[in-house]
C-alpha cells in the first residue's frame, strides 16, 4: 500500500529536464575590493564553478557553471559566509522545458525542489531567472518581511 502511495506521489510531482546555467549573487557587509576578492576567490574553489565575474562596484558576482555539474546553492552561500560576509541577493537562471508552475506546488529541478510563491499557474519555457527568498539568500530585513519556513536540504522558496 505504501509503495502505491509513493508511486502516486512521485507521479504527481513535476519532474523537469531543467538545469541551472548561472547564478547572480549580491554580497553584503563589505565595501572594499579586498573583501570582494576574498569572496571571488572562495567561489572559484567550488568544483562545479566554471567562471566568476565580479562587479566590485555593485558587490555582485555572476557565477557560471561547468556543464553537466550539480550546482549546490548551499555551498555557494557557505563560501560567501566563510569569507566573512552574507548573501543579500541570489538569482538563478534556469532552463525550463514547458513546466506547469503553480503556487506552492513542488517543482523538481535536478536534485532540488522549488516552491514558487508568485506563480499564476502558467507554463514556463526557456531560460528564466528565479530569485531564492529563503533565509540566508536574502537580507535579514527582506526575510523578516516574508519569512518562509525553514527549508529541508535542497528545498527552496523562489519567485519567478
Amino acid at each position: 500500500m505504501k509503495k502505491i502511495f509513493l508511486f502516486i506521489a512521485i507521479a504527481f510531482s513535476v519532474v523537469t529536464n531543467a538545469q541551472v546555467t548561472k547564478v547572480s549573487l549580491q554580497a553584503s557587509g563589505l565595501t572594499c575590493s579586498m573583501c570582494s576578492n576574498s569572496i571571488n576567490k572562495a567561489l572559484k574553489t567550488l568544483d562545479f564553478v566554471d567562471k566568476v565575474e565580479a562587479d566590485i562596484k555593485k558587490y555582485t558576482f555572476e557565477i557560471s557553471f561547468k556543464s553537466n555539474s550539480t550546482v549546490d546553492f548551499e555551498m555557494i552561500k557557505k563560501k560567501v559566509e566563510g569569507a566573512g560576509f552574507t548573501v543579500s541577493g541570489f538569482v538563478a537562471s534556469i532552463v525550463f522545458n514547458n513546466v506547469q508552475v503553480t503556487n506552492n506546488q513542488p517543482i523538481n529541478i535536478g536534485d532540488k525542489i522549488f516552491y514558487f510563491v508568485n506563480a499564476g499557474g502558467q507554463s514556463v519555457n526557456g531560460v528564466k531567472e528565479i530569485k531564492i527568498i529563503d533565509k540566508g539568500f536574502v537580507s535579514l530585513k527582506e526575510f523578516k518581511s516574508n519569512p518562509y519556513p525553514n527549508s529541508s536540504p535542497h528545498t527552496y522558496h523562489a519567485t519567478l
Binding site: 565595501t31 575590493s33 579586498m34 576567490k41 572562495a42 558587490y59 569569507a83 537580507s139
Partner: protein, 270 residues
C-alpha cells in the same frame, strides 16, 4: 586636544568610502576562513631622553579557522636591550560573535584574548602585551562599517606577569593591571570608483589609544594616524606614526613610526 578633535572632524567630512582594516588595532572582522596571512610589524620608536632608536620587529602568522574564529601567532624581536634579539612571542585569538550585514555596511562584535611571553627587562610602567610584557589580555571590539566611514572601538583588560630571565615586574603587585580603550576611524580615499581588483586602494586612518593603570590610576592617551595601501586586493602596507598626546605613565619610547606589511593567501586550506 582641540587640535586632534579638529583633525578628526575634518577627516570625517572628506568624501570617500569606509575601510576597516586598522593599523594599530584589530577590527571585529576576521580574515576569510581557510586563509593564511603573513604580517611583518616594524616599530621605530624614539627613546625618551636619549638619541637611541628602539626597533621592534614582529613577524606574525594569521589563520582564518572559520568565519567566526581567527588565530595569530607571533614572535618578538627588538634592540631595546643592547643587541637585536628574540624576546618572546604571543598567541592571539579573536571570535566574532555578532554580525549584522547590509549592502555596503555591517555592525560586528568580537571578543579576543592574547597570551604573551617576553624575556627582556621591564623599564616602563606602560603595560604592553605586544613586545614588552609577559602576561595576558582579553577584550571586546565593535566595528561599524558605513558607506563613508568605518568606526571601531575596543576595551581590553591587561594583566602583566613577571617577564622571563628573572626580569620581575618592578612596579608592585597592585600596579600590574590596566584597561586599554581605543577608538579607530578609517576612510577609503582611492580609488574613487572601483573597476578592477588590480587598483591600489589607499585608506587613511586615525586611531586613539588609551591605557589606565587600575592600581596607580596613571594613564596615557595616544594618537596614531596612518596611511594604508592595498595592492592587488591581497597585499597591504601600513605606514603610521604614534604619538603620546598626554599621559602620566612612565614610558620608554612612546613616539615613533610603524610600518606593517601583510600578505594574505586566500583558500590556503579547507
Amino acid at each position: 586636544m582641540k587640535q586632534s578633535l579638529f583633525i578628526v572632524i575634518l577627516f570625517l567630512s572628506l568624501p570617500g568610502k569606509g575601510q576597516e582594516l586598522f593599523s594599530a588595532t584589530e577590527p571585529a572582522s576576521n580574515i576569510a576562513a581557510g586563509s593564511i596571512g603573513f604580517r611583518l610589524d616594524n616599530s621605530i620608536m624614539n627613546e625618551i631622553n636619549s638619541s637611541k632608536i628602539n626597533y621592534h620587529l614582529i613577524p606574525e602568522v594569521i589563520i582564518g579557522v572559520s568565519k567566526k574564529l581567527m588565530i595569530q601567532g607571533n614572535l618578538f624581536f627588538s634592540n631595546r636591550n643592547k643587541n637585536f634579539a628574540a624576546e618572546g612571542g604571543s598567541l592571539y585569538a579573536k571570535y566574532r560573535f555578532l554580525s549584522h550585514d547590509a549592502v555596503q555596511r555591517h555592525f560586528r562584535m568580537a571578543v579576543f584574548g592574547r597570551v604573551s611571553y617576553n624575556n627582556s627587562d621591564i623599564h616602563q610602567e606602560e603595560i604592553n602585551m605586544y613586545g614588552h610584557n609577559s602576561g595576558y589580555e582579553a577584550g571586546a571590539v565593535a566595528t561599524q562599517l558605513l558607506r563613508r566611514v568605518a568606526l571601531s572601538t575596543s576595551l581590553t583588560f591587561l594583566n602583566a606577569l613577571d617577564n622571563g630571565n628573572n626580569n620581575k615586574f618592578p612596579y608592585g603587585s597592585k600596579n600590574n593591571q590596566a584597561i586599554n580603550s581605543t577608538l579607530s576611524i578609517g576612510r577609503l580615499m582611492f580609488p574613487k570608483e572601483y573597476r578592477s581588483y588590480k587598483q591600489t586602494n589607499i585608506n587613511l586612518m586615525v586611531e586613539f589609544l588609551t591605557q589606565v593603570n587600575t592600581g596607580s590610576g596613571k594613564y596615557y592617551f595616544d594618537i596614531a594616524p596612518s596611511v594604508q595601501m592595498i595592492f592587488n586586493s591581497q597585499s597591504r602596507v601600513d605606514i603610521g606614526y604614534r604619538n603620546e598626546l598626554s599621559g602620566t605613565l612612565l614610558r620608554t619610547a612612546p613616539n615613533g613610526f610603524f610600518i606593517r606589511l601583510e600578505h594574505t593567501f586566500f583558500n590556503a586550506f579547507k
